[in-house]
């Protein structure tokens, strides 16, 4: 009975084939690279040079164009990692574990960028590099969660087992993220509210938020690019003995 509920279309299972992913990822990769480059350059130049200065914060608000995308990505990547891990656990898909594994370091990097740019931004605005505010604290906890996932993934040498263990931890962590977020919010709050919401009009003029939208979308493309690169590298590492890879044009050079 369970099988009928969980049956997925053929393309879904096809996605789990390393060969298919390697080839399809190879096609997608340059597109993501181009789109990420265009969006990030456009957004950053517009945001840093042409967007109007803030009436209160002057030019210091411009760090937002790095800070906000990094903060958004840091959370989405953790969620993405947990979803990939869940797919791997449910449909026994090795490739999903590779994708989850690729996410860890990228997510941790975005979290560190968010914390650092936040600290630099906090000094002129709040007068302190660090305050024990809810958002800062929950981002710091998120970094610790990434550190735990990374440590667990490295500690287990067998990849299949490491992938499953990491997936379980990522899922438990994801379930906990909202609880951690709200518990620290009740505990202490100073940070301004979200920059974007889907339901209401932005509180910024278009000249300020459109560049931000571009850098956020560009960061997502950059993330997709790096995940593809890292996952394809892992495919090369783990599939090195297989015949499809030995005959692949990337290897033979033909």
């Amino acid at each position: 009975m369970t099988q009928s509920i969980w049956r997925m279309p053929r393309w879904f299972h096809q996605m789990g084939s390393p060969k298919w992913f390697y080839d399809f990822g190879g096609i997608l990769q340059p597109w993501f690279a181009v789109v990420a480059f265009v969006l990030l350059t456009w957004g950053v130049v517009w945001g840093l040079a042409y967007a109007p200065a803030d009436y209160q914060q002057g030019n210091s608000f411009r760090i937002m164009y790095v800070h906000v995308p990094a903060a958004i990505l840091s959370q989405s990547i953790f969620l993405g990692m947990a979803v990939a891990g869940a797919i791997g656990l449910i449909w026994k898909m090795k490739l999903a574990f590779m994708v989850a594994r690729s996410c860890i370091a990228i997510g941790a990097t975005f979290t560190i960028i968010a914390l650092l740019t936040g600290a630099i931004w906090g000094k002129p605005t709040w007068g302190a590099y660090w305050v024990w505010d809810a958002r800062l604290t929950s981002t710091l906890v998120l970094l610790f969660l990434y550190a735990g996932v990374m440590a667990l993934n490295q500690a287990i040498s067998e990849r299949q087992v490491a992938g499953k263990a990491t997936a379980i931890l990522a899922i438990v962590g994801t379930i906990n993220i909202p609880i951690i977020k709200y518990s620290v919010e009740w505990w202490n709050t100073l940070h301004q509210s979200s920059s974007f919401t889907l339901t209401s009009k932005p509180s910024m003029p278009a000249d300020m938020y459109l560049p931000l939208l571009l850098t956020v979308l560009g960061s997502y493309c950059l993330f997709a690019l790096v995940v593809l690169m890292r996952t394809r590298t892992q495919i090369l590492q783990t599939q090195s003995g297989t015949s499809w890879l030995a005959q692949h044009r990337d290897i033979t050079g033909a």
């Binding site: 440590a151 263990a165 379930i175 518990s183």
Partner: protein, 219 residues
């Protein structure tokens, strides 16, 4: 199934009874950590009573973590864990039974000794019931969430340090509401909200731990 769980509980209690150090060490650790704070910070009553709630909760958390490392490790090392997982019962029954004994051995003594610790840190007497109640709801949550980490690091070398890394971030909500409830009680404010949230977190941990730790053990 109940019989199986009771058998595990009985076996684990017997094991601890023959090795009482396992039960006493976390308790001594708890008292020691708390005793370090007056030495390190200041022996002044006004300052200590202010930080008492947080200190007691952090110490309880560390003591729980310390004892969690052995939750599945001894059984894994002598091979009995494998046999227990082969039993025709779902793995979560094993997890729940072992977590229950872990709480009985490491959590309950902390609760019983907490009034003494509270006096040492000059916590107002009227906050002691809140402290004990919050520990009563909080320490099982710590044991449950910790079991997930303990199951994940079973069989991994240097698992103790790793366990700390995995589990401490998940403990953040518990420590926030645990120590807030005690601090609120010390100031004479209502604690029902905090206690309700701690109870909610306990129920929540009770839901995810059996699945997560059970599947982690089978890896």
């Amino acid at each position: 199934m109940i019989k199986f769980m009771l058998a595990i509980v009985r076996r684990d209690i017997l094991l601890v009874a023959r090795q009482p150090a396992e039960m006493i060490n976390p308790l001594v650790f708890f008292v020691l950590v708390v005793a370090l704070f007056p030495l390190g910070v200041s022996p002044e009553a006004s300052l200590l009573s202010e930080v008492a709630a947080g200190v007691i909760w952090v110490a309880a958390m560390l003591a729980t973590l310390l004892s969690l490392e052995l939750l599945f490790k001894l059984d894994h090392d002598d091979g009995s864990l494998e046999q227990l997982l082969l039993a025709p019962y779902p793995s979560w029954t094993l997890v729940l039974a072992k977590v229950f004994v872990h709480w009985l051995v490491s959590g309950l003594p902390l609760i019983l000794i907490s009034p003494l610790i509270a006096t040492m840190l000059f916590l107002p007497t009227h906050a002691v019931p809140a402290l004990m109640l919050s520990l009563l709801l909080g320490t099982p949550t710590l044991s449950l969430l910790g079991a997930i980490g303990a199951a994940l690091v079973t069989g991994v070398r240097g698992g103790g340090m790793l366990l700390t890394l995995l589990i401490l971030p998940l403990y953040v909500p518990v420590i926030i509401f645990g120590s807030s409830s005690v601090a609120a009680a010390a100031q004479g404010m209502a604690v029902d909200g905090y206690i309700a949230l701690l109870a909610a977190m306990f129920v929540f941990a009770l839901m995810i731990t059996p699945w997560a730790a059970g599947s982690a053990l089978k890896l």
